[in-house]
């Protein structure tokens, strides 16, 4: 059994950590948080130069052709650094959708551009309140033209193209949904920025008015493709959440060692120690579930749907738990804008919603476990 990353993969993780420590300091994150830029363009360029954007994109499409395990270790570091770039939208969602369902021409057009840092992509799925479900997709597609409104669209304000979920049928089945590729810089698209919980990552409302779009995958296959994309993104996001959990735990631990109250380090009080121990437990469970997700993702195993849901739930809980209690360990200072705790708290809670909320994934997990048991 070798249920661990290889030495090469661990080396890649160290490389990414070093790179991000240098190029993605809390100060750089704050520049985006404070609205000075919609995302960190320098960092984005650097990520492309390092080959991180295309790490899982095959060489024939301009990527490094490494694989998803390599992408997982990079994702972990992106989460640890709280990177203010459209990485998950572009790499986990748009690129994965193209890899699963894109035609050769579509892949050739967008994947090399993604790897080179020249194209930002996203997934336009949600239409207001609600979790991923075919019945929540109202935007219509007819004769290659889209009409409707998507919101929130993560990184929609900076994206060059979007994978859009559209209704092409009305039978009430999954087959009513099809996917389309839209060049957001072309006509028929209106993008509005939405204020949101985590300003280091933009959210948009995108209105499509007689917008030209090309199909991504076969008509009626949209929901099946989307489900696969969301599962893959769930694993990759879980690694970001694991990285974020670890960082929040470290921040809390470090503060507990530095801070003196009542004449002693606050980390010597059991109330604080036990809180941090519980954070470690959550983070460890999340990491182990995520490793299983990584294995399923990298081998395209039939266990992926269940593994992805478990990783998603566990990592979401861990990041929320660690980010929340990191503030608690810091006391009043943790509640200031000046300290970095709130950046992780914001990211943890925004990430908990991005691919559908916890209750959605809980439901998915039980469905998938039942399916497996029945089989």
């Amino acid at each position: 059994m070798n249920f661990d990353f290889s030495d090469d993969q661990k080396q890649l993780r160290d490389q990414a950590r070093k790179f991000l420590a240098e190029k993605c300091s809390p100060k750089a994150v704050r520049a985006v948080l404070d609205g000075k830029a919609p995302y960190d363009k320098e960092l984005w360029k650097g990520l492309a130069e390092m080959g991180f954007l295309g790490v899982a994109i095959p060489e024939e499409f301009g990527g490094a052709g490494a694989g998803h395990l390599e992408l997982c270790v990079i994702a972990e570091e992106m989460g640890r650094a709280n990177a203010p770039v459209p990485f998950s939208s572009t790499v986990y969602l748009a690129a994965e959708a193209l890899l699963i369902a894109g035609s050769d021409a579509q892949k050739k057009k967008w994947l090399p551009a993604i790897a080179a840092g020249e194209a930002i992509g996203t997934l336009a799925l949600f239409e207001g309140k609600g979790n991923p479900s075919p019945k929540n997709v109202k935007l219509t597609a007819a004769n290659g033209v889209l009409n409707g409104v998507k919101k929130p669209v993560a990184d929609g304000t900076v994206a060059d193209f979007a994978v859009v979920a559209a209704r092409t049928g009305s039978s009430g089945r999954d087959g009513d949904i099809s996917l389309f590729l839209v060049d957001l810089k072309a006509g028929g698209v209106e993008v509005k920025s939405l204020t949101n919980l985590d300003p280091t990552r933009g959210q948009a409302e995108i209105t499509f008015r007689d917008c030209k779009a090309e199909p991504l995958g076969a008509t009626g296959e949209g929901w099946s493709i989307l489900t696969q994309v969301l599962d893959r993104a769930a694993v990759l996001c879980a690694f970001e959440q694991v990285g974020g959990s670890d960082r929040a735990l470290e921040m809390g631990r470090d503060y507990a060692l530095d801070r003196i109250a009542f004449g002693r380090q606050i980390g010597s009080f059991q109330a604080v120690k036990h809180m941090l121990a519980d954070m470690y437990v959550s983070a460890t469970l999340a990491r182990s579930n995520s490793y299983y997700g990584a294995w399923a993702l990298s081998t395209n195993a039939s266990e992926l749907p269940e593994a992805a849901a478990a990783a998603r739930i566990s990592a979401t809980q861990a990041f929320q738990h660690c980010a929340k209690n990191n503030i608690q360990v810091h006391g009043g200072m943790g509640f200031t804008w000046e300290f970095d705790c709130h950046m992780y708290y914001r990211r943890a809670n925004a990430m908990a919603l991005g691919l559908g909320s916890l209750s959605y994934w809980e439901d998915q997990l039980i469905d998938r476990m039942r399916k497996k048991n029945a089989a």
Partner: protein, 413 residues
């Protein structure tokens, strides 16, 4: 990243599987498979006898205490082979429960500190299950604070004379030998005045009284010592070094890797899959599904944490500290799972075994679970260990650290 055996591991697994297939007491397999926390018993056989017979059979064929050296009754196997054996032994591993303390804690302590002739005499029958061992550490005045123990050992010629009381001794009532932590010097700070021995549990002056647990069962005992004589050659480690010796024992207690921890989740999932609530099947109910999902990811998280540790063993590395979360997570989880399973039954949950075999398990679990959260390190001690040894936080401030033991207050008020 893969879950595959190396060729060597696969060969070992095949050999183990073949031997178990040909030799295990299959007639008990189903009952053992259905056993859960607080409920491991055989309807028509004495489980102790079945366990001893299985252990002896394993020992005769070289499958007992795999990781021990051959000269002491083991197989000289690598840690990963031990894990593979546990996986293959499956439900029959339940029969090893009565030997856990002896094999997991007493044996390693003897190996590290006993004289060579004692190792050769005592370890092989311990490995084969012919002799059962217990561990005599906890006392009424020393639970989490083990070093607060008061049982005295006083030198008298070549012997030590023991007086005092131990508590929570698993299996003392069927044990042949025990390792015993005593106080040999009450005038020095508590950690410095301890000494470890091993003794024959049939020695004159040893009295074992079973404890009736909150669950109604009796797995543990009080053990009283009245002028019990132990020869000095049965001392383990130096006089006054008992604390360090006990750390060897306790490290072994907490480092069991690959041993499946009970979470109650598989039982709950199975139960909910067939249970009908007023509004329909439990498994279709949103609230039930949410609870199940939350426990599912804890159970899978523990499973894969253990696999990460096994992978380290497979590579010949020392596993990281991750495994220390197992008992802490599983203990309170199984308690919550049991509570919820009864909740789903409404008022009838109160009646034992009202809903057949499966539901009856949850009452047994509920009643046994508080013990899990206390034994082998309470939840609070486990959190301290994680905080101090994994996260590097300061140890507790110990007000009795430099105080002679006989000057430490013994009453709160």
């Amino acid at each position: 990243m893969n879950f595959d055996d190396t060729p060597q591991e696969a060969e070992f697994r095949a050999t183990a599987r073949a031997w178990i297939g040909a030799n295990a007491p299959k007639q008990y397999e189903e009952e053992l498979r259905k056993s859960s926390l607080g409920r491991t018993q055989l309807k028509n056989a004495n489980i102790l006898e079945v366990a001893k017979a299985w252990q002896k059979k394993k020992a005769d064929a070289g499958w007992a205490c795999l990781h021990w050296p051959k000269e002491y009754g083991g197989r000289g196997s690598s840690p990963i082979e031990r894990v593979i054996w546990q996986q293959e032994e499956g439900p029959f591993g339940q029969l090893s429960r009565m030997f856990i303390i002896g094999h997991g804690m007493c044996g390693p302590t003897m190996m590290a500190f006993a004289r060579e002739e004692h190792k050769r005499t005592y370890l092989p029958p311990l490995a084969s299950g012919e002799k059962v061992w217990c561990q005599l550490f906890s006392e009424p005045a020393g639970g989490s604070d083990v070093a607060g123990l008061r049982t005295r050992a006083e030198k008298d010629g070549d012997d030590w004379v023991i007086n005092g009381q131990k508590i929570w001794t698993s299996g003392a009532h069927y044990s042949d030998y025990g390792i015993l932590l005593t106080r040999t010097d009450p005038t020095v700070p508590k950690h410095k005045g301890l000494t470890m021995f091993f003794l024959d549990m049939k020695s004159p002056g040893v009295e074992v009284r079973p404890i009736k647990q909150a669950s109604g069962a009796s797995d543990f005992n009080e053990v009283y010592f009245t002028n019990v004589r132990i020869p000095d050659h049965q001392r383990l480690g130096e006089v006054g070094d008992g604390w360090n010796v006990s750390l060897t024992t306790l490290m072994n207690e907490r480092s069991a890797i690959g041993a499946a921890v009970s979470t109650g989740f598989p039982e709950l999932f199975e139960y909910c899959s067939s249970l009908m609530l007023d509004d329909g099947p439990a498994i279709e109910d949103r609230a039930v599904r949410s609870k199940l999902a939350n426990w599912a990811v804890k159970a899978s998280g523990l499973k894969y944490t253990s696999m990460r540790a096994i992978s380290a063993l497979s590579k010949g590395e020392r596993p990281g500290p991750e495994n220390s979360i197992g008992k802490l997570v599983a203990g309170s989880m199984i308690q919550d799972v049991a509570t919820y399973a009864l909740d789903l039954q409404g008022a009838s949950g109160v009646v034992s075994a009202e809903d057949g075999e499966l539901a009856g398990r949850f009452q047994a679990m509920l009643l046994r679970a508080p013990g899990t959260r206390v034994e082998g390190g309470t939840d609070e001690i486990m959190r301290n260990i994680i905080a101090e040894r994994v996260l590097g936080l300061p140890g507790d401030i110990r007000v009795d650290k430099d105080v002679p033991f006989n000057k430490i207050p013994t009453k709160g008020r």
